[in-house]
Every structure is written in C-alpha cells, then in structure tokens.
C-alpha cells in the first residue's frame, strides 16, 4: 500500500526534495502539500530580478500547476497548517482540511525579523520575503517617491537596488559601520557602499532606527539621533528567523530552528524537517545550496534508498545586483595565526583578499572581479597547501604555472569534482558526463538535466564554457545578436530595459544603455522609435527624424525618388465615387502609373514629393485616408465577398474584414502586418499565408496566424476557433498587441511566433481570458493616440518643410 506523505510548505527546499524523491521512488508515496502562499513553487532567489524588472513572475516558476497534476500530487494553495496531532498522525489547515500522514515533512521556512519599534505595523511597512512583498513594493514604487530600506545586508541591498531601478528615491539604513559585514570585510564593504551610492542610493551606516512615523500610513523613519528621513515606503530587511511555531506547538525539539539529526529527522522519527526552519548541528541556513543539500538527504531518507548524511559546507555569498560583483566565502576575520594576501586596484574598483592559516586558504573576499572565486573556494575546500604558488596566488588561476590565459584552458584545468554551480551543488564531471550520455547540445537541456545554472544563473558563463570544451564546434552558445554596431545589447534586452527603467526618449535610452555612438544609426533609431511608441503610447513623442523616409512622408519612395500613394480601401471595397476621385487626382497631377495592389487597393505611382500634400488634400475630400502601405503597421485586410454574394459563404467575411481594419488601422507594429478574412474554407482571400488570417466556417471563425508569402513562404498555423465576430476581433487584437509588445523591430509575426512558440501564444491569447482582455485593452488604449490620419495632418500644414525645397537660389542673392 502506498504511504501518505504530507509536506507543510512549498518553497524551494521541499520542491527540490520532491524532485529527488520522485526520481528515486516514484510510486512510494501518495503526496499532499499544504502551501500558505496561494501559488505554486517558485524560485525565491529570483525575487530581486522580478523587483528590478529584469524578470517576470512566470519566468521564475519552478513547478507549474501541470507538474503537480502530472505527478499526482495534491497541492492545497493558500492553506496554512495550524496543528499537528502526532498521536493521531494528522495535520489540520486553517481552512479546515485534515489529512493523515505516515511521514510528515515540515518546511515552514523562515519569517522576516521585524524590529520592535513603534510604527512597525503601519501600512507601507513591508518585509522582503515573498512574491506578495514584491508586488506590494512594485505598487508602492509607482509613486516614484521615497523609500527607506532598513538593513544593509544581502536582501536589503537587493531590495534597495530594485526599488531604485523602479524610480524611487532610496535610502538604506544599516546599523553596523559597513555594509554586509557578515560576508564582507570593511574594505570590501566600503567599496560596496561606493558602488551602491553610484546608483543614486543613499547609504547611512551606524544608523539606529528609533521609530517609524506616520499617521495612518508611513511618512518617515526616525533615527536614534532624532533625525527624520521622509519615506512613503519602508522595507525591513534586517534578517530572518526560522519559522518554528508549528513545530514548537507540536512538541518537537526546537532550539533556534527545528532540531534534526544529519538525516533530517526531527525528534519524532516520522517527521522530517528541511529548509530554513531546520537547525542541524547548531546551525541554521539561509542560502539555497545547503537547503538543496538537505532536500537531497531528506529525499534519500524517505525513499529509503541510500544512507546520505548532511555535511556542513561553507556557501559563497553573491549579490544579485546587476553590475556589482562580489564574492565571499569562509572566515575572513583577522587573527594572530592568520595571514592575508591583498590586491587592490583603486581605479578599477577591484579588491581581492585571501585569508590563510598554515598556508591554506580559509576565507576569500573578492570585489569588482570575482571570476576566480570558485577556484579559491576549490583550494579552500581541498585544503591545498599554497606555499608553492603563494607569490601569484592572488592574481588567480590564469597566472598559475604558466597556464595560458585562454579562458577555456582554465576550465579544462578545473578538477572533475570542482563545484560549478554553487546553488545546486553540481560539479564539473556531472555536467560533462550528462552531456556525453544524453547527447545534450543546448544550455536549456543541460539546465534541465543537471540543474546547473538553473537557480541564480551566475554560473551560466562557466557552464557554457564547459559545454564548449566538451562539445567543441558542436556547441553554439546562443549569442545575442546586438541590435547594431551602436550597442552590445540585443533587441530583447533593450525592450526589457526600456520598460524596466522607464526610458521614454531616444536620448535617454542611449544614455542609460550606454550607446557607443552619439545618436545611433539608421538601424537602431527606427527600432528604438518603435519600441518607445509601442511601450509609452500616451507619453512618447514620435521622432520623425528616426523614421524611415516612407513613414516620414506617408508614401513609398521609388527608385527615381518619386513616391507612390495608396489610399485605404476598407476590406478592399470601393465605389464609383472613390474611383472617380482617384481618376481625377491621376489626371490633375499627371501621375504616370496606376496599379491594383496585391492587397486589394489602388496604387498611384510616380508622384513628385512636392505634390504629395496636394494629392492627399484631393483624396481626403473624397473621404480617403492613408492606406499605410508604407508602414511597419497594419496594412490591409483582404476579404472575399462572403455571405453577401457568394453561394458558398458561411459568414459576412467582407463585413468582418472592414470591421477589423477600421478597428486596427493606424497601429504601429514591429514589421508590416497583413491580414485577410475568407468566407469559407475555399479561402479566396488567401488568408492562410497572411500574418493573421480568418477562415469563416459554419460554426464560427477559425483564427490563423504566422503565415508568410514573401522571402519565405509559410502556411499559417491555427491559433484557435471562436463562435462570434466579437470574439474573433478580441483574439486578433490581443494577438497583435502581444506581438507589438514582444516582437523585435522588423521581425514578422511568423518569426516572432517561431521564437516564442505557438503553445505559449495560445496559452496567453486563447486559454487565458484575463490576459487576452489585458492585451486587448492595451491595444485600445494605444489606438487613442495612433488613429490619426497622417495625410490630413500633413494637409493641414504639419512639418510643411518636409515637402518643399529650402529657399530657391536666385542669382541676385549672392552674398558677395
């Protein structure tokens, strides 16, 4: 009979434990999890990137809902366990669920320590512990007002950096004389303070908080000195305490944490404990590596497979603030029996210190350049006698024994059991052997199989080098193609940073993202202009000088410097009046060529630039607006005649096409967007090679997308089927908006879809009505600023200079 395993808590440690357990003994337990947080297991280490905007919640989920279903695990979200009855072997949640267990794992984690000062409970005082805290901070940060972070440790500084990225004016209060004093010596702490202050964050050391002030909400922080620092948000990040309430009430042995032996078993043989709530050998842990080690040991214990024991190991500290590199491990206090080797490079902001005892490394502090951290750690772990390399030790691995400075040589020289990923305890040989066994060729695969670089990601470079070494030419790291020569950043990074840093003008983007040229080039400027138009529709002022000539003069330049003019014909439908007006314009301006386009409208070719405003004025009088035939935007919606005329038509395809075009015209997109609506599967409007196509059927509307008929030819894929015109419109608009927000400039929908994956697009647009509605609403909002006919604007005199030469030269005007 399967035994019942109940787990209290759904953080990273029990999540990892389950992965090991399911691998070792997949059917042994019937598993139930109670999670006080109303969500699945996510990567808590990545909260800081979520706060700073570098990642989204979806990206840090470790186990999605599907994972629990796949493994037959019952997950109670938002259930806090309030009692354990050890005699009856049951637990009870605050929502009244009672569950019996054969084995129980307590993984209640930790609670933030709140300093007991007056005002600590005011609204606007937050801790920094889970996603709810981050969400609350993001809301507070929208005000762009002042924040005080109490605590200059790892969490406090990450919170401060994130809030500063979000535009808040941040002050960090730290009670000790230097920052992160538990991990850094004073010299590195000082450099860290400088680096933090360079980001515009104010740092106050030796600052004791006396009270948090405010009437009904936070207004400021008062220091012992009487000084008051105004703040609309206070984040307390002074430390964590193991959460032992439940275990204490259940009568388990508890000291600082829940006491376990080195097999993770508590004083009750049927109850185990893992994670931050656990105390083992007098130690409690907060970093992920030892917690994952606990998970491994507990899984082995539950599976009964092997006699694994938990052994303490020092874990290196790293700070996840982009651009600040620090690494510290072991013991770095001064002492009579200790020596130290120090390297300082003040101008480069580099500080390295290695602490020795009996010619062996016992501690390392690195700031500014941390690549050699794992190597120092390796020497420390193995207690290598360094007398032979003492003179060059501090310069790092590359300088040892004439080893070349080729970074790959350094990796090749790493011992097989050298630890590569500290978070997940993965050593070099694990990676190389899995690559060989399973024939892995991508970083994603290596992550999935070994977990290396799957947590905080700081070892990604190292893992990639190992892959290069193992696979040789077989490995092509996914190099990010820079946007252009003006920057090293790729399109995605630029888009993400525009949002994350609230960059709202092209000069601001170039300044903040350290463009290498003064004002960009013809590749990056139009791309940036589009990203800003798409991301800040209400605020950004379109920069015409960053638009390609066609979009600047709303016509297509031809090889002889004349232009072609295409008025909009909604859904390809026209009338005698419209045709007459076009004929008149052609005559009046002696336009040399008139042609029907592939998108069911009429193109007038060979118009002289000076004539453009007058041509538009005449067309405008007949009711025409610009057809945007030149635009990285919505072009045409091609239609067939549908039920109006066709004996096969199933729906009003013409009407739907006109409706879509009237709804969406004027919107800018990463590349051109062509659509079509066919009234039946005979598909006369050729909807199945368009960016977005609709095939009407008896039961409704089949929405297609990601087709192409240009440089590439590709049939569409089906996104989904809907019953009504309203739904069809909503899906198409939401899809377009998703593409507008994620596409790289000049990347057509089919390429974007290939990159993102149809499943993901379906998940967001078809399966998730809330997301679909949100995309739809954002599109509608941006249309408020986009549906302005550029032709009539021009006719009324906007930027007139564009169409006339500068003053004609007459000979009398010669200045001398």
């Amino acid at each position: 009979m399967t035994e019942k395993l109940v787990i209290v808590g759904n953080g990273m440690a029990p999540g990892r434990m389950l992965e090991h357990l399911l691998e070792a003994a997949p059917n042994r337990f019937q598993i139930t999890i109670f999670n006080a947080e109303p969500r699945v297991n996510y990567d808590r280490i990545m909260l800081s990137p979520v706060l700073s905007g570098e990642k989204q919640y979806e990206e840090i989920v470790i186990h999605g809902d599907g994972w629990y279903i796949k493994h037959g695990i019952t997950l109670y979200k938002g259930h806090k366990v309030v009692a354990i009855d050890r005699d009856a072997k049951t637990i009870t949640s605050n929502q009244g669920v009672t569950e019996t267990y054969d084995k129980l794992v307590i993984a209640t984690g930790s609670v933030p320590f709140v300093i007991p000062v007056p005002g600590k409970d005011l609204p606007g005082v937050l801790s920094y512990r889970d996603l709810d805290d981050v969400s609350a901070m993001l809301v507070a940060a929208q005000s762009r007002e002042t924040a005080v972070v109490i605590g200059g440790g790892l969490l406090g500084l990450e919170a401060a950096a994130g809030l500063a990225e979000r535009g808040m004016d941040v002050t960090v209060l730290h009670v000790m004389p230097t920052l992160m004093e538990r991990q850094l010596d004073p010299a590195a702490g000082y450099l860290l303070q400088q680096a933090v202050e360079e980001r515009g964050i104010k740092v106050r050391t030796k600052a004791n908080t006396k009270a948090i002030l405010g009437n009904g909400k936070v207004e400021g922080v008062e220091l012992e000195t009487g000084e008051i620092i105004p703040a609309t948000l206070v984040v307390m990040a002074v430390g964590i305490r193991p959460n032992v309430v439940l275990a204490t009430e259940a009568g388990l042995e508890v000291k600082r944490g829940i006491v376990t032996d080195n097999r993770m078993v508590t004083s009750d043989p049927d109850i185990l404990s893992v994670g931050e709530c656990t105390e083992i050998d007098g130690r409690v842990y907060g970093l992920v590596a030892p917690l994952y080690e606990m998970a491994k040991v507990a899984a082995a214990q539950l599976a009964g497979t092997e006699a694994k024991r938990f052994v303490h190991a020092d874990t290196p500290t790293k700070l996840k603030v982009t651009g600040i590199d620090l690494y510290s491990i072991g013991d770095f206090a001064d002492g009579e029996d200790r020596e130290e080797i120090i390297l300082r490079d003040a101008s480069a902001g580099i500080y390295k210190r290695v602490i020795l005892q009996d010619n062996k490394i016992i501690g390392t502090v690195l700031f500014g350049e941390t690549a050699d951290g794992p190597w120092f750690n390796e020497l420390k772990k193995k207690a290598v006698d360094i007398s032979g390399i003492r003179d060059t030790l501090i310069f790092g691995q590359a300088f040892q024994g004439g080893v070349s400075t080729d970074p790959l040589a350094a990796i090749a020289a790493l011992a097989d059991d050298a630890e590569v990923c500290g978070c997940n305890g993965v050593c070099k040989s694990t990676i190389t052997s899995v690559i060989a066994e399973k024939g892995l060729t991508s970083l994603e695969d290596v992550r999935a199989h070994t977990k290396a670089s799957a947590s905080c990601g700081t070892c990604t470079g190292l893992v990639e080098k190992i892959m290069t070494l193992t696979l040789g030419d077989g490995y092509n790291p996914a190099v990010v193609q820079p946007m252009c020569g003006c920057t090293d950043l790729g399109h995605d990074d630029v888009r993400r940073l525009i949002k994350a840093k609230s960059l709202k003008t092209i000069p601001q983007v170039m300044q903040e993202l350290e463009w290498k040229t003064s004002c960009g080039c013809a590749k990056c400027r139009p791309a940036l202009n589009y990203y800003l138009v798409a991301d800040w529709p209400a605020e950004y002022a379109d920069d015409y000088q960053s638009r390609f000539i066609n979009e600047r003069v709303h016509a297509n330049i031809q090889k002889d410097g004349t232009y072609s003019v295409v008025p909009r014909m909604w859904g390809g439908v026209t009338s005698a009046g419209e045709l007459r007006a076009i004929a008149d314009v052609v005559d009046k301006f002696a336009i040399p060529a008139v042609k029907v386009t592939g998108g069911q409208r009429i193109d007038m070719l060979g118009v002289r630039k000076e004539d453009l405003p007058a041509v538009w004025a005449d067309l405008g009088k007949a009711g025409f607006v610009s057809g945007h035939a030149y635009a990285k935007g919505l072009r045409t919606v091609k239609t067939c005649v549908g039920t109006d005329w066709c004996r096969f038509g199933t729906q009003d395809s013409t009407g739907l096409g006109v409706r879509i075009e009237k709804f969406m015209w004027g919107s800018w997109t990463p590349a051109k967007v062509k659509m079509a609506v066919s009234g039946c599967p005979r598909n006369c409007a050729e909807a199945t090679c368009k960016d977005v196509g609709v095939i009407c059927v008896d039961s409704g509307y089949e929405i297609h997308f990601a087709g192409a008929a240009g440089l590439d030819i590709k049939g569409t894929e089906v996104l989904g089927q809907v019953r009504t015109e309203e739904e069809a419109l909503e899906v198409i608009v939401a899809l377009t908006q998703m593409y507008r927000e994620q596409g790289r400039y000049l990347e057509r929908i089919y390429k974007w879809a290939r990159r993102i994956g149809r499943d993901e697009i379906q998940r967001q647009i078809i399966d998730d009505p809330q997301k679909r509605k949100a995309y739809f609403d954002r599109f509608v909002f941006s249309q408020k600023f986009a549906q302005v006919d550029p032709w009539s604007q021009r006719v009324s005199g906007k930027d007139k200079h564009e169409f006339s030469p500068i003053a004609p030269i007459s000979f009398n005007e010669a200045a001398e």
Binding site: Y544, I549, I806
Partner: protein
C-alpha cells in the same frame, strides 16, 4: 566662389535635411545632432538615391534606397561600399546658412 544665403539653421530639422535646387542639380543640406551643417550632392553614388531623404546619424546619412552610408564630411561611402559624392562648401554666420556655389554657377552661366 559665391556664397548664397539659403535660410536659417532652424529651417532644417535637427538630425534632418532639406533639399536645395540649383541649375546643376539638387544639393542636400544637412543639420546633424551636434548642430553642424553640411552640404553634399543629393545623389547617392550607388543608384542615385536622394540622400536628403535618408536618416541622419552622427556625421553621416543612410541612403533611403539601399542603405549606403555616406559621410557628410568627406562625401565618401562608409563601410564596405566604394564611391563618393561631391561635397559643397557651406558655412554658418549668425544662424544663417551660406552655401558656396562658385563652380556650379560658373557652369550655369
């Protein structure tokens, strides 16, 4: 050489260009990001594209037809392409733009 006053610096948009018609053909007058004024023939050495219609960046313009990049200082094509257009003398005095058209005029008369 004769200097012609063709207008003021603000007649040309920043990072933009205007076109100047002469009897010898069109001249493109540019105003860069740093407010420097340049004038070159409005005729790309590649296929004759109107350079005045291109995107201006640094002291260069990208031709709207096939993306050749032309230096406004030397008139030479930058990057892998080979070719050049004539540069026209130009100077700014008290916010007015003066273009030197000696040869052209001589040829025109």
């Amino acid at each position: 050489m004769n200097w012609f006053d063709i207008g003021e610096i603000n007649d040309i948009p920043l990072r933009g260009a205007r076109c100047l018609k002469t009897r010898q053909g069109k001249i493109a007058v540019f105003r860069t990001h740093e407010d420097r004024i340049y004038a070159i023939e409005d005729h790309c050495p590649h296929k004759g594209g109107p350079l005045s219609q291109g995107i201006v960046h640094g002291a260069a313009v990208t031709c709207p037809l096939h993306n050749w990049v032309i230096s406004l200082e030397t008139g030479k094509a930058l990057g892998p392409d080979d070719g050049a257009v004539r540069t026209i003398p130009v100077r700014v005095e008290e916010g007015r733009i003066l273009v030197g058209l000696g040869e052209l005029l001589a040829a025109a008369e």
